[in-house]
Amino acid sequence: MTTTPDFKGTHLFDRLCWAKENLDGVQSDYRVVYEDSVDECAKILVPDPNWMACALQGGILPPVWVYHELAKDEAQPDFKKHTRGYLLHTTEPMPAMTEEQAIEYLIMKDVPQHVWTDWNSGNKPKMVICRKEQLPSTREWRNAWKIADDITATDIAA
């Protein structure tokens, strides 16, 4: 197995260059389906294979809280450009994750926070992790796709 160099303090872009040269992409079968607005159809998050390879390898990706800090900065009304980008590059990288841990990380990074912090508070779950074969096999009526009304958190846990 390829050993990750000691990347602490190395620019994240350089780490990704190393990963591109040394790691094979991992196409995950997991998909995250979520609804962040009652007026819109369900959205489907698909992990990037090269990113998943980095997550499984360990020692490359920053902790997810770094992205949350940058998001806070960007939400400021006087934001012009990031001045704390160093957090991406100098924070101790994450150790190797399982595929399931990587999906959890991805949810906290790329799904709106109001969805994943409050995913099961309404009449039905707002977010479901499934396998790609559980999605419709064609994209017919794609803009009408919704999470099933009768799904429960128990169904998801099963």
Partner: protein, 132 residues
């Protein structure tokens, strides 16, 4: 770091010189080739995920974030079948941030029909700008 050359200028024996910041600032910071109808990345660099928001409506999220939302995106897109002959397709911004880019993919209008959102089987984009 091993293998690192620190230099501000590269000089060719006859062709002249170029400052290395031309290379650093002028290089693509992210790119992908995607089949939006699946949707999956065929290959990519510097992305964490695709979000399939709806037909012709996608978001891609960066691993190494951009410095702000003022980066540039260049793309080519095409679809299979009769869409090849239906006007000029394109893509345009929906929501741009330093951490992600949401865009629409469009088929062009023709003499008898308006433009429309579609999932392109061959969407390719490159991103140029400053990293965070």
């Amino acid at each position: 770091m091993a293998g690192t050359i620190v230099a501000d200028t590269l000089t060719h024996s006859t062709a002249g010189s170029i400052a290395t910041n031309y290379v650093v600032e002028g290089s693509a910071k992210a790119w992908f080739s995607m089949n939006e109808a699946t949707p999956v990345f065929n290959d990519s660099f510097n992305f964490t995920s695709i979000t399939d928001n709806a037909t012709g409506d996608k978001t891609v999220s960066f691993t190494s974030s951009m410095g702000n939302a003022n980066y540039s995106v260049s793309q080519s897109n095409a679809n299979s079948g009769t869409d090849y002959t239906r006007g000029t397709g394109g893509a345009y911004d929906h929501t741009v941030s330093a951490s992600s880019y949401r865009y629409y993919s469009c088929g062009g209008s023709s003499a008898s029909s308006n433009g429309y959102l579609r999932d392109d089987t061959r969407m390719k984009q490159i991103y140029i700008g400053d990293l965070a």
